[in-house]
């Protein structure tokens, strides 16, 4: 019963929710993610195994995508000639004479503490015999190339004849799009299955080797494209059999000969055995949770949901590979094609920075290794320096599609984010700087981080427009976080982030000169950081246009924003879709409806370091901003609520903070956007962790470099405990709620 807040249970299988649960019940280990489909399959299921870095650009497709790997889960069970299928008894009056087999009991749960997915099924075959089947699976966190499954079949009633067939299914697609070349290499040797496939365009090779361990003799089944083996046996009443399937996976990104490596690794894994693999895996999870777990005393619903979102951050983030990053939908679905957005730097990386700094570093290194793509993009657009792509894959190129999929009316919509959502360069610089401040990882900053911050600063230096009439710098044709308003001039978020970016670039360069003058000189030379350029940066920092309404004492999201139609967003409540979808695209872009935290996002990221004209009280301006923008915000993006929770907490708006946190932490569990089938929302998952730590607990670095908290907890939260890494040391915090008194 101590485990109940570490589990998400599914007590009844409903086929209309299958894709939702497939996403929720994904397992993974930072190397790959596998959706929670059933071993035996199900009508219209959407199995997927996504391996970091394995992208392919199919012929005719607009952009490359993460490729669905062969299905290693494949296990089919037959009881007295009746195949196990998740057909539940729906009407108790007729299931005594089922047309074929029927599932008379079902329970599935993800054990977040141990990273194990379990399913229990009570199955009645057409013969009348009843078996109980317990499934267990995990993707080893200890050895990222090892996947393990265990099934236990018990004869509950009768003496059933059982067939268990294990396979590696290579005939897989991305929603019908084929990425694998025809004629995979497949082998069935003894009890071992092997498969190797190669992507069509990118030429990546993925190999799997699998072994079925049971007390019974295996018989190979030479299916083309689906190497398989099966065992046949009977069970006496109350007899159980345990069958284990181990699968190893390697790619050409890991090794020169993935198949041979997988086969060798399989032998090693088999020698160690399921139980050892499982206990190593669990031990690794225990280590992970030591820092990742936030313990909330007084709110079980949030506690469980927060563990769930954190679990997904942990399984999605690469652990050892600095050439890949976390896609917007993690590795749990095909949404956004596995592309990497600002979601990673702003939502995921800061979380990892505190719980596993090495993993945060990997994510930043991914951007470093892709600087060449950012430089190419800047050049292609007529700018200097490095301009990061809005959507990024393995090549570092801009991979944002220019056009949407076909809409119901047959048209396609022009997508401008790849052209104009340029703040991503500042976002990366922001998190690079933040990472350094929190980890004290000078080595990283000197060797890699400074170059990213400076060369993206070079980009902004060439990108800004000087407005002589006002003696100020401006940025036209931008898209801020509020993507409902595209190609606007002087987004306060974009301008302010670019300004802060240039300021921090100058600071870092100054620091570098004193810390490592050789490195500084090398960068100055390589990036041509001459005096003219640096003076211009200083001038931009001094004169960047930050739209501000002096009368209302608020930041203006962008000039002209308040001239548009006002829509009372709070009236559109409750709603199962966005206000944008309700109003329609054409109309909503002409209204003040904001997609997501924009000015509010700026307040989250920059806190009191907002650019506020003299004579104004910063806290009052922040409150005014909140009161202005919160009721105009649609939360049409999953990125929005967590940032609102963070800012509301800082402003002492505890009810709003709680509402937004509750919203954010349940985005995937409750599927209140209806799109979880396409994958988890990585940003929401990372965002709620930050909302709790930076927002509600108020963790920050004080002026003298000490780590301090400043809690603003909901009245019913007693305390929050957590561990974070700060400058190489693990630090434990317990934040008590100052207003706590026993309430119920």
């Amino acid at each position: 019963m101590q485990e109940r807040l570490w589990q998400i249970d599914e007590l009844n299988f409903e086929s209309n929710h299958q894709h939702h649960y497939e996403t929720l019940f994904s397992i993974g280990n930072g190397y790959l993610g596998t959706r929670g489909t059933f071993e035996e399959g199900y009508f219209l299921d959407a199995p997927a195994t996504l391996i970091h870095g394995i992208y392919d650009h199919a012929p005719g497709a607009l952009v490359p995508e993460l490729v669905n790997a062969p299905n290693w889960l494949d296990l089919k069970i037959t009881v007295d000639s009746t195949p196990l299928q998740m057909i539940m008894t729906v009407d108790r009056s007729d299931f005594m004479t089922p047309p074929s087999g029927v599932v008379i009991g079902y329970e599935r749960s993800i054990d977040m503490k141990r990273g194990v997915l379990r399913r229990d099924v009570l199955f009645r075959a057409q013969s009348g015999n009843i078996v109980r089947i317990t499934f267990e699976r995990f993707a080893s966190l200890h050895d990222q190339h090892v996947m393990a499954q265990r099934i236990v079949i018990t004869a509950v009633d009768g003496h059933p004849a059982i067939i268990v067939e294990s396979a590696l299914q290579t005939d897989v697609t991305n929603n019908g799009v084929r990425h694998w070349l025809p004629d995979p290499i497949t082998k069935t040797e003894g009890g071992r299955l092997s498969a190797q496939v190669t992507t069509q365009q990118s030429g990546y090779v993925v190999a799997m080797a699998s072994y079925l361990n049971s007390p019974h003799t295996e018989i190979a089944l030479p299916h083309p494209g689906r190497p398989a083996t099966h065992i046949v046996f009977t069970l006496k009443q109350e007899e159980s059999v345990t069958i284990e399937k181990l699968t190893t996976i390697y790619t050409s990104r890991d090794t020169a000969d993935p198949l041979a490596t997988a086969e060798t690794a399989l032998d090693a894994a088999s020698a160690r055995g399921y139980d050892t693999l499982l206990s190593d895996h669990i031990a690794e999870w225990a280590t992970d949770w030591e820092t990742a777990d936030i313990r909330i005393d007084g709110d079980e619903a949030i506690q469980r949901a927060l563990r769930f979102t954190t679990y997904h951050v942990l399984i999605a983030s690469p652990r050892t590979d600095e050439h890949v990053s976390v896609g917007a939908k993690t590795l749990s679905g095909l949404g956004y094609k596995g592309h990497v957005f600002w979601d990673t730097e702003i939502f995921v990386t800061p979380t990892l920075m505190l719980i596993q700094p090495k993993m945060a570093r990997n994510l930043l290194m991914y951007r470093y290794h892709n600087l060449h793509g950012a430089r190419e993009k800047a050049k292609a657009n007529g700018y200097e320096g490095a301009m990061y792509p809005w959507e990024s894959t393995d090549t570092g190129e801009e991979t944002t599609p220019q056009w949407s999929d076909v809409q119901p009316d047959g048209s396609r919509i022009r997508i401008w984010t790849g052209d104009n959502e340029q703040h991503i360069s500042s976002d990366i610089a922001y998190t690079t700087h933040k990472y350094w401040r929190w980890t004290g990882d000078d080595d990283f900053l000197i060797k890699y981080g400074a170059e990213m911050m400076l060369d993206t600063a070079v980009f902004w230096g060439s990108r800004v427009e000087y407005n002589a009439d006002h003696d100020r710098y401006e940025l036209s044709q931008q898209i801020g976080p509020d993507e409902y308003h595209e190609n606007i001039d002087n987004s306060v978020f974009v301008n302010r982030m670019a300004q802060a970016h240039l300021k921090s670039a100058l600071d870092v360069l100054a620091w570098l000169k004193t810390k490592d003058s050789v490195a500084a000189d090398r960068l100055i030379a390589a990036l041509d950081l001459n005096t003219t350029r640096l003076d211009k940066w200083r001038d931009i920092v001094a004169k960047m246009f930050i739209p501000f309404d002096h009368e209302k004492a608020i930041h203006i999201q962008f000039p002209g924003f308040f001239d548009m139609e006002y829509i009372p967003v709070p009236h559109y409540q409750p709603r199962t879709t966005s206000v944008q979808a309700i109003l329609g695209h054409a109309r909503s872009i002409q209204t003040q409806v904001i997609k997501q935290a924009d000015v509010v996002m700026m307040m989250a990221l920059l806190g009191h370091e907002l650019s506020i004209p003299e004579g104004f009280d910063p806290l009052q301006v922040m409150l005014n901003n909140w009161n202005t923008y919160y009721p105009r915000t649609d939360h049409g993006s999953s990125l929005s609520p967590a940032m609102h929770a963070w800012v509301a907490a800082r402003l002492g708006l505890l009810d709003e903070a709680y509402d937004m946190l509750d919203h954010a932490v349940h985005i995937d569990l409750q599927d209140n956007k209806g799109n979880v089938r396409d994958g988890m929302h990585a940003a929401a998952c990372g965002g709620v962790w930050q909302a709790v730590i930076f927002g509600l607990c108020g963790l920050r670095i004080s002026r003298d470099g000490a780590l301090i908290t400043d809690p603003r907890l909901p009245a019913h939260w007693r305390r929050v405990s957590f561990n974070v890494y700060y400058r190489g040391e693990k630090r434990a915090f317990t934040v008590e709620n100052p207003v706590y008194s026993d309430q119920s």
Copy 2:
């Protein structure tokens, strides 16, 4: 956010779950219950308003049933000619051009603290205009004859033309069975609607009067059988209108002229107004919860669910009427036809005894008033005294059907419970005695309770069979709680309960002689409690056969039980149905599968007062009993898990206690038996309250009459606080978990 543990929310309407939620979201006030159907109706919905005591025996029906009263919820809203219907947007790609209206936002929640059901709907008419509609309803706890609804309609987008139609729908049936005579009286006078209907067989009259309060002029709609009125208006953008519907309900059980009374009461209610009615209602609920609420510190899921089950006990139990009682499915569904079983005395009454002793007294008085029926049943069966019916309605007659509904194979099954589940007479005597011990209500015992206990004792005195071979008394052809095994001889539960019953009857008579000799003499004369009879009772108490296995040191459920096939019930896990249904009736009755707590039930009710042979350790016998019967129990009845939780806690089996409590408290919320559509499980609702208080908290009366606790709490529960009435005084308890240490 402090309210979150007082609410059950439905965040998305799924039509396949509509009947489940209709039951969960019932409102009521001890006078009537109304299922949570939508005001405007929905395809295949199952609206019902059930009023205590209004039974009718339809021509051709096997038994009488509680009659579905006219639907007072009836409110239809039309927006720009589009009727509001709960058609949700399912595919976001096509809802911009809905075929007709579409619901784009939905949320519903029951506020258990205040007894109010709320629904928020965002609705887009075919015209494109959008309205938000907030529905609120309650059945006044302050004036049980007043029902109130409020809707607020806001024009969110556009200038919609609105029609609101209010009606009283008299054309209602019980699943197609008509109970109301044709041609009801209906009137529409000014803004007032009236309707009066009369049952066909029993002649009960139900009258309703209703008034629609709005700023707009009403126009009557003379529908036959459905008196209605409507208002027509337009809204400007962002304009809101509030409309209130008040309905009063009286029956011929309340007054000679129900219609006139309802109309007069409606005027009074209208004069007081919705807001006053609501605040009075909320105040009454606040008083109720002062004793009813158990506050669990450390388990939010159980906390919320326990409030939910307690809410249903409170809305179902009659408050002022001692001629009616709580049916097995409360007033929330048509299941078991509103019949009253032992569920009431064993599961519901002891809960009320502690939180609202007056209500417990009402329930016992229902049995007192129906003594005549029990005497007739005894006589008809050739026995003396009073033999309570297994199923009871308004007449006190046995109303158990003798045959089941038609089974899938066309057959009907003989139902033996009305003949042979005779322990109900002991159950009533048990709770009568318990009520007296806990409340100190001597007046009740003297005037009513003693007569019930003694005349049912007379029945047992005439019912037992003397076995001369063994010099013992026996009971053949009985059905114990385990109804899978019918018509068995010497059920240990039945024998022991009858023995305890006779013992308590003798004790009460002795007490009565000293307390009120006139009353005692009157009863002795009336019931012919002569010396021979009382001597026989003493002999039965001394020589009742209590089946016991001396070798295994366990009670035997009934002789022969262990000769039947053993089925490993724990292997049938998880399951969505009973093992009985899985094995089939014919086979399961020949196995050791037990429907529900039977020996375990005996341990719950009698605790250490079990009849255990000398030389045996009572606690060890209880543990042996548990270890024997728990793994054989199917929990095929909702009555089972709570009793198991209670006993497991007393035995210190904390994991089992928690598992069973968790199971019991979620029976209705999770609908894990699939039959909640037919109504709430009254016994489970009352049972969990007792399991927590008597089982986990160990509340009991010590030998010296003091009220003490002896907690056995799950490790993660910090403490439990509750208030109970004991002998007229309200007593507050806070039970700390002795093993508590901060865990997470």
